[in-house]
Structures are given as structure tokens and as C-alpha cells.
Symmetry: C2
Subunit: 260 residues, 2 copies
DNA sequence: CGCAGTTTTGATTTCTGTCAACGTCTGTGG
DNA sequence: CCACAGACGTTGACAGAAATCAAAACTGCG
């Protein structure tokens, strides 16, 4: 039986109007989770495992956040490292004029903010897109696994390398590509990440993003995103309906995304 | 006496036409270097120091590259971790149409590519802007210092955090800011980084960048950079001459850079 | 049903890129 | 020392991409 999980895990400063975290009731199926691969997650370790001692696993079960909520903010102090179990979220920065830039979409298995491995403060807002389920680990315990033995653990290396490659790609896309390229690349990128998790059906995938999410991620306006997507559909490249997206003409679509 | 340093340190694949690395003759003054702060650099350790055993320091002295050369490329395999001692460099990605995006400018004390801490391959090209002097460390030895004790070393944490903050800021700037803002922010950013190294004179600094470097860093064209800079000068905000830059009206300039 | 959020569409404006010409500066070789 | 070639920076005319503005249709939800 899941017990009541304290909401203090998520952030110390909070306004009373926002009750974002609730006790979860879902089963614990997080196959894409890197913690499972690390053999580190208590949910996957036998009860007497030594892992259970070294990793402070917080709460009896996962926690959930409904869609479209702030999961954590810049100022929040968070003592735990959060991993996505289910759903989509976005980490983003906001400018003072209200413009937003999404830095990455978070999918099941992703670490919510790698900065939390090192300190209790991260530098951006994380918002749920769909209902989200995640798990919190104790930072110190996780450190025991990641920073021992005089060399980087494979999990830490690949996390660093993937995050760096992703942020470098983002910079090039935002700095040097057209609207069509940016949108096509975003879609292909998400499709690839979901495919690696076994979350696609052929060339189709669940696609909970609103056009304003695409706009925030690509540095465009929602109006222009609409025009480009309409054009993609008109040209028979993709089909979007009912929160799912299918790539119809993959080679043409890749050509748009990769050319240059 | 510096001995002949093998050029193999820099990259295994090289064309004969490019002889980029030469034996250095400069003195070893690298005060802003994080390795010095780490108390890890052999150049700063007494001869009998245990540090000398754990860090494999490569070569008797630093290595130099003349300005405007490729220091390393995507395909290069590099067994060492390189740190800037002197000069300016840029790490960048190139699109197939020749467009380039500079991901960061490397200043004295910066690590050339943090990916090399984890693997022998980095994901971007590094080019010198001025004459550059740098030092190479053995990856495994460095790992002994960074990944021991069950928690991240302070040097590793701050490296991760700073790189992430920088890349996030870059994405927001490229995605959401105007040409004026991007250029002003780049200048202020560089000024701040140099100030922290004690490399500014009041509001003036050495400024070896060509306008095409600014264009590559901001996602603009050199022509447009010229127009914006000319306008900045006309409005009495900055003065650029003879490879140095001075901010004249700092508050107005900050307003341009930060507003929004 | 009504309302708020989303998407579409068209007209217009703004920003930045492209093209081209020209002047300056720098380094090189005779 | 001079001539020259390239790289660099400036300027103006023009083109193109995306933003802005505005209105309307559509969606889902309480």
C-alpha cells in the first residue's frame, strides 16, 4: 500500500494555490529508466539488496503530477534527483517579456534535471505536459554509485555526453536553421527517442504537444508553427490527429530535416 | 628546456598539409587555470607531490597553436584532456552548407572539450582565434581526482553546472532574442568572463574576434553584425578599435542586453 | 450552453539575409 | 620599398522569412 508521500520532496517554496503532487497509484513499470539499467532503483532491487542501503529511495511509490503543472521552479530547493517514469514534461526558461524557450522535452527514463545530481538548485522550470509520474532518489546515495572508483561510471559518462550533444544540436538548430527544418527535426528527434523506448507504432507515435510547445521549443511563434504544420500535411509528409502523429513520407521528411 | 613534444597528442588523423602544433617556449603562467585551483597541475605541484603520480601530465611544457588553425576535429581521437593556458579559441559545429555555429569561446583556464574527460572523441571542431597555448592531461589520471570518494568533486560539479547554464543561456539567446540583444549579451558575457580572470582594464578588454566570429556565435550574418556594431558605436555605447573593445555607456548597454 | 484554450487563415510589418560594390588593412613576395 | 592578393569591414538596395495583428472556426470541458 502506498503511504502518504510528503509534498516537501518537490520544492520547499510553494504557494498554497498550487497543489501539484499527489500520491501515486500506478504500477511501477519503468523499463526505459536508466536507474533500472544501473540496477540501482530500489523498485527493481530485491529487498535485501545492498543497493537498497546505498541509494536512499524516497517514498514507497512514485509520485504523480497532473498535466500542465509546474513540477519545479528555479528557486525551488530540491534534495532529491528526479527521474521520469511516465508521461511528457518540458524544461524551459522564461524571459521577462513572457517569451519561453523549451530546452528539452522529458520522456520516460529521462533525468528531470541533471543539475540536481550536484546541487539542490536547478536553473530552469520543469512543467508537465501530460500527467507525469516520476521517482525521487537521494542525491548522496546516487553519488555513491556515480562518483566512485576513480573513473566516471558509464551512466554518468553517457548522461554527460548525451546532454552535451543535445544542447549543442539545439544551439545549431536555433541559430542556423529555418522554421521548416527546426520543426521537422524536432519531430524526428522525438520519434527517435520514443522509438528507442519502444514507444512508437511503426512511424506513428503519441504526440501530446500543443503547437505552442513546438513554438517554444523551436524559437518560433505558434502562428508560424501552424502554417508550417499545415503545409507539411498538405504536402503529405505527416499526419497529425487526435494527439498522435504519423510520418507518411519519411524520406522526404528526413530530407527537409537534414539537408544543409 | 622543453623537449620535442609529439604532435600525436592532438589528433591521430591529420593531413600532412596542416602542421598545427609546435613546441612551446612561453613561461608557465596560467593563474586562471582550474587545474591550478584543483592543485592538480604538475606545473604547480612540487616535484615530490603525490599529485604528480596520479595525474599523468603530458609533455614538459605547454603546446602552442598559431592563430586561425584547427586544434582538433570531430573525427580526431584524443587521449588527453586539454586546458587553455593562453589565447582565445572557439568550439563550433559546421552544417553541410558551410554555415557554422560557435558553441563557445574558450578563454584561458577553460577546458577545451569536457567530453574528453569521458571519451577520446568530442563532438565539435575547435579552432584557435589568436595564438593559443594549452596543456594536455592524462584522462585516467584526471579521473582519479574527479571521480573518487562517492561524490562529485567540486571541480566536476562546477564544470557541469557552468556548462549547462551556458548552453541553456545560448539556446534562449538564439531562440528568443533579437540581433542587438544577442550581440550585446555576447560582449557582456565575454567581458564578465575576462573580468573574473583579471584580464580586463576597467570596461575595456582585448577583443581579438572578427565580425564573422560574432556572426557565427550569434546565428547572424557578418553583414548584419557590422550594421549592429556600427549602430552601437554611433549611439556611443561601445568603442572598438585596434583589437580592443571598451564599453562606454555601460548601463544603456546592459539595458539593451538584458531587457525582456 | 458557454467559455477558455487551440488552430487556422489572411493582411501587413519588421527583421534579417542576400547581393553587390567599394574601401581599408595586412601580410607576402618580388 | 612597392605591388598585390586576400581578408575584413562598411554601405545601400532589395528579397525573403517569420512576426504581428486580427478575425474566425474549432475543441474540449465544466
Amino acid at each position: 500500500m502506498p503511504t502518504q508521500v510528503t509534498t516537501q520532496v518537490i520544492g520547499r517554496e510553494r504557494d498554497a494555490s498550487r497543489e501539484s503532487v499527489e500520491t501515486a497509484r500506478q504500477p511501477s513499470t519503468c523499463s526505459p529508466c536508466p536507474m533500472a539499467l544501473l540496477d540501482v532503483c530500489v523498485a527493481h532491487a530485491p529487498p535485501q539488496s545492498p543497493v537498497k542501503k546505498s541509494i536512499g529511495y524516497v517514498g514507497q511509490d512514485t509520485q504523480t503530477v497532473p498535466r500542465r503543472r509546474v513540477i519545479c521552479r528555479e528557486q525551488d530547493l530540491i534534495d532529491h534527483v528526479l527521474f521520469m517514469c511516465e508521461g511528457w514534461a518540458a524544461s524551459l526558461l522564461t524571459l521577462s517579456d513572457g517569451n519561453r524557450q523549451i530546452l528539452s522535452f522529458l520522456l520516460p527514463g529521462d533525468i528531470v534535471s541533471s543539475m540536481l545530481l550536484f546541487q539542490p538548485r536547478q536553473n530552469c522550470v520543469v512543467e508537465s505536459i501530460t500527467d507525469v509520474r516520476f521517482r525521487a532518489f537521494d542525491r548522496a546515495g546516487l553519488g555513491q554509485c556515480l562518483f566512485s572508483g576513480g573513473k566516471a561510471s558509464p551512466a554518468l559518462s553517457s548522461l554527460w555526453i548525451e546532454e552535451k550533444e543535445r544542447s549543442d544540436r539545439l544551439a545549431v538548430d536555433l541559430g542556423r536553421r529555418t522554421a521548416e527544418e527546426r520543426i521537422a527535426r524536432l519531430i524526428l528527434n522525438l520519434m527517435g527517442r520514443l522509438a528507442r523506448r519502444g514507444m512508437t507504432q511503426g512511424r506513428a507515435m503519441e504526440f501530446p504537444l500543443r503547437q505552442h510547445h513546438i513554438a517554444d521549443a523551436t524559437g518560433l511563434t505558434p502562428v508560424h508553427v501552424s502554417k508550417v504544420l499545415t503545409d507539411f500535411r498538405r504536402r503529405g509528409l505527416v499526419q497529425i490527429s487526435d494527439r498522435s502523429l504519423e510520418i507518411i513520407d519519411e524520406s522526404a521528411f528526413r530530407r527537409i530535416a537534414d539537408i544543409r
